[in-house]
Symmetry: C2
Subunit: 331 residues, 2 copies
């Protein structure tokens, strides 16, 4: 079976490829191609199951109608959900999404950027890894439309879609305090990223404002040794002189690991200890009782990021807006 190109349709109908292209793209205005021929072409294209070659089209047009999405780990529900929504919105705008994983590693992020550039993506949506400012700056220099999601760099002038991390963590901590917990702890990743720093700051400020802040109650765990570090951190927290009565987990993976670790040592959540989770996980609504958690507006984040990106791509409008969407505290 011969591959069906414009030329094939053209030959079968005895016209030029140009004519076929014109018709199939709806550009046969003001008498370019007759009604009759148009119909013939459309019918023939359908008959032969013609599928346009988007490599050729992209090459000629200078755009691929695709965007690159770079996340840390597509098997993480947060990123998976983000990807799903981004894809759905992208499809509506006629764009394909190519997803890349960084595994939080700079080299992999760099590779993915080069890779997606070689694939001529029209724009990039990135959840940047720690310390990747220089990579982001190089993308910016290349003039390729770019939007950061979930994580941003305060010193960089990049369109970003973030959430109100500081504020929501302040409020959530305050709620714990108002509910009578006097010694809440906070567990976050050992990393220097703006979004997690802000979460931590929210916790600390709320604690300070209540006159309850204890530096020892903020623990850090590392991404590669999450479970081990978590066990240690919780051990330490439970041994503190001021015994911890609540733990605020700073991300979804930390929440899962934290809850798991508590279970392992036989602690009953909400009886022996209270928890506050960032992000919704499958596990959370498994509990026979309510676990308070912070819900990110993932779908809205996806939508907003895509709008920002497509505006740049199509209207050549360089927005440097940083948008802060509101997360919600669900109790």
């Amino acid at each position: 079976m011969e591959k069906v190109s414009l030329k094939v349709i053209a030959k079968e109908l005895g016209v030029s490829a140009a004519t076929v292209s014109l018709v199939l793209n709806g550009k046969n205005k003001n008498g370019r191609v007759s009604e009759e021929m148009s119909k013939k072409i459309i019918d023939k294209a359908a008959e032969l199951h013609y599928i346009p070659n988007s490599l050729a089209k992209g090459l000629k047009m200078g755009h691929s109608k695709s965007i690159g999405l770079i996340v840390a780990d597509i098997s993480n529900v947060f990123f998976g959900t983000l990807a799903l929504h981004i894809q759905n919105y992208a499809e509506k705008g006629g764009y394909t999404v190519i997803i890349g994983n960084t595994n939080e590693k700079l080299e992999e992020m760099e590779k993915m950027i080069t890779f997606l550039n070689s694939r001529q993506v029209d724009g990039l949506i990135i959840t940047p890894a720690e310390g990747s400012e220089f990579l982001i700056e190089s993308v910016l220099k290349g003039k390729k439309p770019l939007v950061l999601v979930d994580r941003g760099f305060p010193d960089l002038n990049v369109p970003s879609v973030l959430i109100n991390n500081y504020e929501i963590c302040y409020r959530s901590t305050k709620q714990l305090i108002d509910q009578g917990f006097k010694n809440p702890a906070f567990i976050t990743y050992r990393q220097d990223q703006f979004h997690t720093n802000e979460r931590k700051r929210g916790f600390i400020e709320a604690m300070k404002d209540a006159g309850l802040f204890t530096p020892d109650h903020v623990k850090e765990v590392s991404y590669p040794y999450l479970n081990e570090d978590m066990d240690k951190a919780i051990s330490q927290l439970l041994k503190c002189e001021k015994k911890v009565d609540a733990i605020f987990f700073a991300t979804n993976t930390i929440s899962m690991a934290g809850v798991k670790s508590l279970f392992k040592r036989g602690m009953l959540i909400q009886k022996d200890i209270q928890v506050m989770c960032f992000d919704e996980t499958d596990a959370i609504d498994l509990f026979p009782f309510r676990v308070p958690f912070i819900k990110q507006p993932i779908k809205e984040m996806a939508k907003t990021a895509l709008e920002l990106l497509i505006d740049q791509i199509e209207k050549k409008e360089v927005t440097n807006k940083k948008l802060f969407l509101e997360a919600e505290l669900i109790t």
Copy 2:
């Protein structure tokens, strides 16, 4: 900043684009290009940050070095993990993966296939939706390399990577019986797909062989109304004259919904009722006790599927092998 193409490098160095292409592709064997010029070209390419245009390359070469992966829902952990591993293995072979969601809908699946074809993917990995035989057949007719994963069609001659659904479910059911549960139930999707049918068959045969089979103990739920249907199904199972003492959930989403539903009505797993889950979920190792579950070899499935696909793409070897990998019962 001018876009850097072969031509730009060529012009800067006063040579032809052909020479640059030869060097950059390592095809300057037996005295095609001098050592000296080669070095100059390589240096200049690095200096200008040359990134090859893979649309142009793909157009010329007739392959895009990309493969399409069509799953039901990328935000589902099973598919997310599958995608992650497929991407990792693909990258090693120099392929990009473009992921598409079907949401279990035929029209979306059809759209995705056309879409990926227009993007000139070199092959397709698909977890087909119910009733999509005709779509799979049309792909086959188009001679595009194809591999089915997770779900297959027994009547179709397509390379597939599946697991031993029947056998593992038989064994798992038998184990429940051996442990003393006399009235296990089975909850699956209301759909006619080979892989879930096989799971059901495994359960039923094991029950029959033990002389315990009760048709009323097999319940079906629908994908769009999972939670509601689950509540109903469990209600009915608990009202049966032969009161159900264990439930076997046929997929990961069903497992989650099932466990959630049990919790909601205050049933304690392993005390009031035993469960058996298909797939590992985050939630499963949250329990303070062990929940038996069936673990699919996702990583191996990804690897095998990719091997089967790349064999077809590169060696033009039309394997119609159906490979059955072994799932594991974890107790």
